[in-house]
């Protein structure tokens, strides 16, 4: 019941992994460039937080491959709908949210389409993107995603729904209820659990008495798969398979356990030196998803040092541009505090 995927790091073989997954060299290069942008953006947000300009950052560093790999599968599929969580800034960018919207959303300036300044981290929902990220209450997106998937099924649509959450979120009763419900109705939903072995400071062994969360899927009657979540291509592959399974006549949900790392403190409010050892941090850094993809592409000669430098410069330029623009953007008018509480 629990076909735990083996760790098969996407390495250079006869046919490079990404091509056998149907991705062209250019597509993967573009994806890499976007991951560079994500990193530069994340670093900038952290810097702006230190300057008191961005109230909160939930750094995505270490889970980019998971977040972006899922989004790439969803985006190339074309009929997916996502219920992301707070560490999913990269997912949002891959789905098409602009750097500018991301930046003003983080500062709280006027004009983002997700929440109009009412929420942070681009929480909310936008007319422009197939995703809902209502709150940061850990667990509550899960049964909502399941309900949404049921709605799609009732309406005869072939949408597949992704819901992201962390190892911490797996402890919520809501997670159990959502997985159970999805199993009963064989709903087209992919439970994407980013396991970085930490819920803020609480290590995995204080969160659960098991090694692999994917093992729990058997208790709901659907497959659970362990994936190296720092390997973009493995994530992409597993997500594609889950999408196919969701549409299968005998199919239904999949639980993807994406083994990821957390390279930064939990959020900008956190100080992880209180609870992480330097060795632990170093281990994590060795699995930096950006570095892994870089090594893969360099190994194949698809990426060169020059091209890499170019991507980094472009990313910096773009992030500089949106930082300036966002800093000059107006604040939401206080009148926006009121109204749009009830649908008319």
């Amino acid at each position: 019941m629990s076909p735990n995927g083996e760790k098969s790091p996407s390495s250079t073989k006869a046919m490079p992994a990404h091509r056998s997954l149907g991705l062209t060299d250019d597509q993967l290069l573009g994806f890499y460039a976007q991951m560079v942008l994500v990193r530069v953006m994340d670093d900038r947000l952290i810097a702006l937080n230190r300057q008191g300009k961005v109230p909160l950052v939930a750094s995505c560093q270490g889970s980019e491959a998971a977040s972006m790999g899922l989004a790439l599968a969803a985006k190339t599929d074309g009929s997916c709908f996502l219920f992301p969580y707070y560490r999913d800034m990269p997912l949002k960018l891959v789905m098409g949210v602009s750097p500018m919207e991301t930046m003003i959303g983080h500062i709280g300036k006027d004009g983002n389409t997700f929440n109009g300044g009412r929420q942070f981290l681009l929480q909310g929902a936008s007319p422009n993107f197939p995703m809902i990220h209502l709150s940061n209450v850990v667990g509550s997106n899960l049964s909502q995603a399941v309900g949404y998937a049921m709605g799609c099924k009732i309406l005869g649509e072939d949408t597949v729904v992704f819901a992201s959450f962390g190892d911490g979120g797996s402890s919520q009763g809501e997670c159990h209820e959502a997985m159970n419900f999805a199993g009963i109705h064989k709903l087209p939903v992919v439970f994407c659990c980013y396991n970085n072995r930490l819920a803020i400071s609480v290590p995995q062994e204080k969160q659960m008495a098991i090694e692999d969360l994917a093992d729990r899927a058997a208790g709901y009657g659907f497959p659970g798969v362990v994936v190296d979540g720092t390997d973009s291509l493995e994530v992409f592959r597993a997500a594609k398979e889950a999408i196919n399974r969701a549409r299968d006549s005998s199919g239904g949900p999949t639980f993807l356990e994406l083994k990821v790392e957390r390279l930064k403190p939990h959020t900008s409010d956190d100080d992880d030196t209180r609870y992480r050892t330097p060795e632990d941090m170093e281990d994590s850094l060795r699995r930096d998803p950006l570095m892994r993809l870089n090594v893969y592409l360099m190994g194949l000669g698809i990426l060169t040092p020059n091209l890499d430098e170019q991507f980094r410069q472009e990313a910096r330029a773009e992030v500089n541009r949106v930082t300036d623009a966002a800093e000059n953007a107006p604040w939401p008018d206080v009148s926006n505090l009121h109204g749009r509480l009830y649908a008319p």
Binding site: N115, L134, S143, V146, G151, C152, E174, E177, R340, L341
Partner: protein
């Protein structure tokens, strides 16, 4: 027009809306083959099929969360929480999440669903089958909360709730299900959410209530006729938004107000109604705004002696009215 019980009127409202709008659906524990433990959804699964009438696992948090997710997709689910006593597990999805959908997305998304919740005591249900929960809901911006007292209102208001584009909590007093009967049109009609009803005009005191207690209030008002006290009875019907206009218009006229409800007094709907009157009708008042409410106990106790002691009744109300009349 046919005489129907409250539960029949509720069933009819849902049935009509299910028939009229393919987006309407029902989910909850035992709502399928069983037809609901109070038979509110009797025969629905046969008529509308397993895809629209869904028996859920025993899990209130996800009943609410799945309902919310369905509403995001444009369906119009009606969820049933089997007894009010079990709504607490659903609090996060209803109060925490659903109430903030429209506001938190700057108006882009909405959550058009209804959660029906049987509540209230007088049915020998003890602490965990009798709860009044309106004090935890009417104070929630972003929700609408309805509590009808009779079959006619139940049908018209439930239909409005189903058609409303917001999350609506529909509180059904269990004791009214079979005990309260009345004329109900066999055809479709709606009653606007947010409008109180003057059940009985009067001049000396305004009695403000809702749900089962309205019936005791009407009886007490009749008794007071013998004492030459003219009592106006207001049925709030909607607890959020409160119909301040109707409340104030009446109290400004009578100068005296008695608020009656079975839920515990502290922080109940009566507290807010009293505060509104204090703020807006101070100069019209001839007596203290008074409340006759359930005692500050966790819920209805089980033994009949204790249950009777808990409940509001005609006698208690007429005593309170007489005291106010004499002020």
């Amino acid at each position: 027009m046919t005489v129907k019980s409250t539960i029949e009127a509720i069933r009819e409202a849902m049935r009509e809306e299910l028939a009229a709008d393919p987006r309407v659906m029902v989910l909850g524990e035992d709502v399928g083959t069983r037809g609901g433990v109070f038979l509110a959804t009797q025969n629905f699964i046969e008529e509308f099929g397993e895809h629209r009438i869904i028996d859920t696992p025993l899990a209130e948090c996800s009943i609410a969360g799945v309902t919310l997710g369905l509403s995001f997709k444009g369906l119009r689910p009606i969820a049933e929480i089997q007894f009010s006593d079990f709504w607490w597990y659903a609090a996060n999805q209803l109060v925490g999440e659903a109430s903030r959908v429209h506001y938190g997305t700057n108006g882009y998304l909405s959550a058009p669903f209804v959660v029906r919740i049987p509540y209230g005591g007088g049915v020998r249900g003890g602490l965990f089958h009798s709860q009044y929960i309106e004090s935890y809901l009417y104070n929630t911006p972003g929700l609408k909360v309805i509590a009808p007292s009779n079959p006619y209102d139940a049908k018209g208001l439930l239909k409005s709730a189903i058609r409303d584009d917001n999350p609506v909590i529909f509180l059904e007093h269990k004791k009214t299900y079979r005990a309260v009967r009345g004329e109900v049109p066999d055809t479709s009609y709606t009653i606007p959410i947010g409008k109180a009803e003057v059940k009985r005009p009067g001049e000396d005191i305004t009695l403000i209530s809702y749900g089962l207690a309205i019936h005791y209030g009407m009886e007490a008002a009749m008794l007071l006729e013998d004492e030459d006290v003219s009592v106006e009875v207001l049925d709030l019907r909607t607890l959020r938004p409160l119909d301040n206009e109707t409340i104030l218009e009446s109290v400004k006229r009578t100068g005296k107000a008695l608020i009656v409800h079975e839920a515990s007094i502290t922080g109940g709907v009566g507290a807010e109604v009293s505060a509104i009157i204090a703020e807006e009708a101070f100069e019209y008042l001839d007596a203290p705004v008074s409340r006759l409410c359930g005692p500050d106990l966790p819920a209805m106790a089980f033994a009949p002696t204790l249950e009777d002691g808990f409940m509001v009744n005609t006698q208690k109300i007429s005593d309170a009215l007489l005291k106010l009349a004499a002020y």
